[in-house]
């Protein structure tokens, strides 16, 4: 409604609107701590992201926000300016453990994971090791040695790639099951086609799944995975990129994109009026009787311009 006042984005919200699986709130294990939000290093970006440990740290969940402009919530009898919707979804903790394994793995030594998964900036990362899935899937990405009662691990790229490949396969299955549009022309996953796509190839699914998995792994791993999947880095640039319509190189001097001076020149007047868009046409049809014209607010100047 107003444009004068700017939104201050610094306002803190004390409420979140969250969608989470029931398992998050499951505190049946009486002796364990409550579910907790923690900041951990995002495996793809290296920056802090928000995650959630279930009670007893047995499960890891990631927190994602649906955040678009011009949204707010009415919560009970209050208004919440922040219209975000947070999703809490289960996540394989291995994705978060992997960067630490890779980093230490460069030394080539077998080490106990407790010495590997350490982070000054994110001390909570050690809790990842309490997750039931971490212990169960370490062997997917690392070689294991057992000495006495202690276990030692060393990162293994080959194993990791096989593991990621399985992840991609599973994702492809999920994509097919949910009829998600993955073709080249698709701009939005929520777009539902009336007709089934006939020209979607296996490669489209693979590429799409690879893209999804890449949001959870480093860029290096993502590139390597592309190789392993047998997907050329850029298979056909013409299909992937929209056709270039403009900006052809020319010898003419570069002109400013919005050069207002040229509209004052005489030849501009001779040009035929531009075709109106549908919206402009419908606006032009509106009965404006009794309304002031925009120009009437600036009247003396307009008259001189018309001469």
């Amino acid at each position: 409604m107003t444009t004068k006042k700017k939104r201050s984005s610094t306002t803190q919200n004390d409420k979140w609107v969250v969608i989470a699986p029931d398992s998050v709130a499951d505190t049946s294990k009486t002796d364990s701590n409550d579910p907790a939000f923690v900041r951990l290093r995002n495996p793809a970006t290296g920056e802090a992201s928000l995650y959630l440990f279930s009670s007893g740290d047995s499960e890891l969940y990631e927190v994602k926000a649906f955040d678009e402009d011009y949204h707010s919530w009415f919560v009970g009898q209050t208004v919440q300016r922040d219209g975000r919707l947070l999703y809490i979804t289960p996540m394989d903790p291995m994705y978060l453990v992997l960067p630490y394994l890779i980093k230490v793995g460069k030394e080539g030594k077998f080490q106990p994971v407790q010495q590997v998964v350490l982070d000054e900036d994110f001390p909570a990362c050690t809790r990842l090791l309490s997750c039931s899935r971490t212990q169960a899937s370490l062997h997917h990405v690392a070689e294991e040695k057992e000495v006495g009662s202690q276990r030692f691990h060393r990162y293994n790229q080959e194993k990791t790639m096989q593991w990621l490949q399985k992840k991609v396969d599973k994702t492809v299955k999920a994509l097919k099951m949910r009829n998600i549009s993955v073709g080249g022309g698709v701009k939005s996953t929520t777009y539902i086609r009336m007709k089934q796509e006939s020209d979607v190839q296996e490669e489209d699914y693979l590429r799409y799944a690879h893209g999804l998995i890449s949001e959870y792994i480093s860029e290096d791993l993502s590139k390597e995975l592309l190789n392993v999947l047998g997907l050329p880095e850029i298979s056909s640039p013409k299909e992937l990129e929209p056709p270039s319509k403009k900006r052809k190189l020319s010898d003419k001097p570069v002109e400013a994109g919005e050069d207002y001076t040229k509209f004052n020149s005489a030849d501009f007047i001779r040009k035929p009026p531009k075709k109106m868009t549908a919206a402009q046409k419908s606006l032009a049809k509106v009965d404006k009787t009794g309304m002031k014209t925009m120009s009437s607010f600036f009247s003396p100047k307009v008259k001189t311009e018309n001469n």
Partner: protein
């Protein structure tokens, strides 16, 4: 005047009408259109039509209907009763456009301005009379915007009807005066007995004329401004009076 139908849901547009006199179905009729409450920032805008056989025009003059603006409220009430009593040959119909309808029309994505809204309400009422079998031959309208354009629009819309659009038609043609009285009485009633949907407790009903330049109206608007929701639906949000106050006093909302 029974406004209960509108009061049952005062968020929408509502049509009220008299019974159609039998003579209007058989004899050639004239019909007048006028509106009440175009300018105020508060309350509904009411469109009214009145019709009678052309042969009975003089009887209407006998009722001494005159431009509603020159009459006191009591005189208007009195005249409306006389019109209602003359139901053997006079019929009327009203379109009550709630302030909410006006707000949402004017502020919707594809703007629907007040002139268009007015014209469509008038056309809708005339069509209603035709649908009821009124033998309509002459149409008298007080103008909204330039008279010629409106006259052309109405003539095209209702072929076979002689359309006369005039400024001040409500003081020139008794049938338009009659329509203006019906509209004005309905508007007065609606404003006076406005049932607030919002839980405002004991509402201070002293909102003056409802016109933007009335100091009472202005102070009422200030008093009932909610920082989050703005105003009750009684207020036309699309009026610049309301918007200016919202801009300065309410929480900014971005659409």
């Amino acid at each position: 005047m029974d406004l209960s139908e509108f009061e049952a849901d005062n968020t929408v547009s509502c049509r009220l009408s008299s019974a159609i006199p039998d003579v209007c179905r058989t004899e050639d009729c004239c019909l007048g259109i006028d509106e009440a409450g175009r300018g105020p920032v508060l309350g509904p805008m009411v469109y009214g039509i009145c019709f009678c056989p052309i042969s009975k025009k003089d009887d209407l003059k006998g009722l001494k209907v005159a431009d509603s603006k020159t009459l006191t409220e009591a005189e208007r009430e009195n005249l409306f009763h006389k019109l209602d009593e003359a139901k053997s040959f006079v019929g009327w119909a009203l379109q009550v456009l709630s302030p909410n309808t006006i707000s949402t029309s004017m502020l919707q994505r594809a703007k629907y301005n007040l002139n268009a809204l007015s014209h469509d309400a008038a056309i809708g009422l005339v069509q209603y009379a035709l649908d009821c079998g009124v033998q309509l031959k002459e149409l008298f309208v007080d103008t909204v915007g330039p008279a010629e354009k409106y006259q052309e629009k109405l003539s095209q819309r209702f072929p076979g009807v002689v359309v006369t659009v005039r400024p001040k038609a409500d003081s020139l043609f008794p049938i338009v005066s009659a329509a203006s009285i019906c509209a004005k009485v309905a508007r007065d009633h609606a404003v006076k007995s406005w049932k607030f949907l919002e839980d405002l407790g004991d509402v201070d009903a002293d909102y003056g004329s409802g016109y933007p330049n009335d100091p009472k109206t202005k102070s009422w608007l200030l008093k009932y401004l909610d920082p989050v929701f703005g105003y009750p639906q009684f207020v036309r949000f699309s009026w610049s009076t309301a918007q200016t106050l919202l801009d300065s006093k309410a929480v900014p909302v971005h659409w």
